[in-house]
């Protein structure tokens, strides 16, 4: 762990040119975004494809607070995160009242409606003409500017990871994970599932907005088409899922793989739209074959190779058979403990 931190901290001094630093910033930004996404996705199992909207809102609100309300850049960043948190409450209210499918639909709709609003309301948002965010450190050289923001993003990542870790080991986190496993059951045991979901949704939106706002301050030019993009939300999901949503470092790992992969595939296969195909196939493969991400897949593989793992594959199959029955709602096939043991070997 210490080595990773050391590498992350010394990266700017190792980078041969500001370009590598911008790639580093992009990857850390991805990591913050997917970690933020994972507050909802990882704990509760609710997949949001619309977190791009919160990032865009964070960026735009920060920019508007700086340009229209003359707030200092970083005050604007925090005020903007607070405003997004407030907005996330009614969104979560609508999205979380019903389960699953409606949540996904609302999350996608959120990006699309924000895109429409920020395009149409051009007298306020600049619309398609774009919005320029004044630099927080005027007069700073571009490469220094990159370096400062690299560390700011790193700090935000640390805070997000710490928050995730605190929740993960808390009673609140226990309740959230119970929601992911079986929401009805969690309710029947006294977990106020709706409130839990709403709270963690707001936390997630807030961190996403902070990442978006910081990005806005760093990048400087906002355009609704790029800020409110469904694809950026999908990348968050891909990264978190690829790394493993149940693990603290899963989204971070996913961000490093996907971020580096995007950069690499662009260098290699630059000018074809095949990057969409790659992203699509990768997402499909992850969903079909390793929905728990590479961390468990890799540990599972190692465990199988060395035969040290606690779980055997056939056990999982037995459990899933039962789960299928649970979902199907048909009469339970009488499975006595004795029979189960046979399956378990």
């Amino acid at each position: 762990m210490a080595a990773v931190v050391a590498v992350a901290l010394s990266f700017p001094s190792m980078a041969p040119s500001p370009y590598e630093l911008t790639v580093g910033i992009a990857i850390v930004n991805y990591a913050v975004l997917s970690t933020s996404w994972n507050f909802v996705g990882g704990f509760t199992g609710y997949i949001s494809l619309g977190h791009g909207a919160f990032a865009g809102l964070g960026a735009y609100t920060t920019a508007l607070l700086v340009t229209k309300a003359d707030l200092p850049s970083f005050a604007a960043l925090f005020v903007s995160a607070a405003l997004v948190a407030v907005l996330a409450v009614p969104v979560g209210y609508a999205a979380l009242r019903v389960r699953g499918a409606s949540f996904v639909i609302v999350s996608i709709a959120l990006v699309l409606i924000m895109l429409l609003v920020f395009q149409s309301w051009s007298s306020f948002t600049g619309g398609s003409r774009g919005l320029v965010v004044p630099r927080p450190f005027p007069g700073m050289l571009r490469s220094e500017h990159h370096e400062v923001f690299y560390f700011l993003f790193l700090a935000l990542l640390a805070v997000a990871l710490l928050t995730w870790w605190i929740i993960d080991r808390s009673r609140f986190g226990m309740g959230l994970k119970a929601i992911r496993e079986d929401e009805d059951k969690a309710q029947s045991l006294g977990t106020p599932t709706y409130t839990y979901k709403l709270v963690v949704f707001v936390v997630s939106a807030t961190f996403t907005a902070l990442a978006g706002g910081l990005y806005g301050l760093w990048f400087g030019d906002l355009d609704p088409v790029f800020q409110f993009s469904i694809l950026s939300g999908a990348y968050m999901v891909l990264m978190a899922l690829l790394g493993g949503v149940r693990h603290l470092y899963g989204p971070l790992l996913g961000a490093v793989i996907v971020g580096y992969g995007l950069e690499y595939s662009k260098l290699e296969y630059g000018d074809t739209p095949l990057h969409l195909v790659f992203a699509g196939l990768l997402l499909g493969v992850v969903v079909m074959f390793m929905p728990d991400g590479v961390i468990p897949a890799a540990t599972g593989l190692i465990a199988r190779v060395f035969k040290t793992g606690e779980t055997s594959i056939r056990e999982v199959t037995a459990a899933e058979l039962r789960e299928e029955r649970g979902q199907g709602g048909a009469e339970p096939a009488p499975g006595s403990p004795g029979q189960k043991r046979e399956v378990k070997q």
Binding site: S170, F172, G173, D182, D184, E323
Partner: protein, 259 residues
């Protein structure tokens, strides 16, 4: 905590105060009426059973009472308090715990964590405290021990056998400190040895002051275990009474045989 509850439970004068009661509970799904103006009450401190043919509305009744679905009409009270259409977690906190028709545990959490989910933090700040506090873990182990599955506490629930999962589910319900426990087909898909085990547990827990309401198809179990039986047909009660009365009730036979 549970000891204090026991005293409360035994302090009630039996029969005088109704535990769970509904008035005119009605629920329709599309064109199908699952509950039809069901007015029924159960005895506090006793083992109650709810029986009836398939599709007679027993599970819908459970779901309405525990807030999982919202009834179209009617009221539910528990010990005099109106709990109609309250969210499920409030009903759980009012002291009603339930199991599900097909046993439901949190498959990818450990056995111990399955119980710790039921712990209710006393205040907002305690939400963020660590989830594995010592005294709670001790209490969880107590229930696991009583169920006889304490050796599995670190296993993921999905790796347990069906019967072990049934016991785990019951332990989870007990961890939430209910006064009234609704069991939906506790003997479903369970081998005879385990059925006996579950019966014993129900008797013991009842003796400690917990009230039970059991939906079950296994008539031997129902007749031997329960003090009071309510029979449902087509979404409403058609008969109630002690096992001896129900066994000889013609309407009950009619309902079951479809006469």
């Amino acid at each position: 905590m549970s000891a204090k509850e026991n005293e409360q439970g035994q302090g009630q004068e039996e029969g005088k105060e109704h535990g769970l009661a509904t008035v005119g509970l009605t629920k329709a799904f599309g064109g199908v009426t699952a509950l039809d103006d069901a007015t029924v009450s159960f005895r506090h401190g006793r083992v109650n059973a709810l029986i009836g043919p398939n599709g007679s509305g027993k599970t819908t009744f459970f779901n309405c009472v525990t807030g999982m679905i919202r009834p179209d009409a009617g009221r539910t009270t528990y010990r005099g308090r109106d709990i109609t259409a309250k969210p499920p977690h409030r009903i759980a906190r009012a002291g009603i715990g339930r199991s599900f028709q097909l046993c439901r545990v949190f498959p990818r959490m450990t056995v111990l964590d399955n119980l710790l989910v039921a712990v209710r933090p006393p205040n907002l700040l305690a939400q963020l405290a660590g989830a594995r506090k010592r005294e709670e873990t001790e209490r969880a182990r107590y229930w696991l021990t009583r169920m006889g599955i304490e050796h599995l506490e670190r296993a993921e629930a999905r790796n347990l056998s069906w019967g072990q999962q049934k016991l785990l589910e019951l332990a989870g319900v007990l961890m939430s400190e209910p006064e009234l426990i609704l069991l939906d087909e506790p003997a479903g898909g369970v081998n005879p040895a385990l059925i006996d085990r579950i019966c014993d547990l129900v008797r013991e827990l009842n003796a400690e002051g917990r009230t039970f309401l059991i939906v079950e198809h296994n008539m031997d179990l129902v007749m031997s275990l329960s003090d009071h039986i309510v029979v449902f047909d087509r979404g409403r009660p058609i008969a109630e009474g002690p096992p001896s009365v129900i066994q000889s009730d013609e309407r009950v036979l009619g309902a079951y045989l479809g006469v």
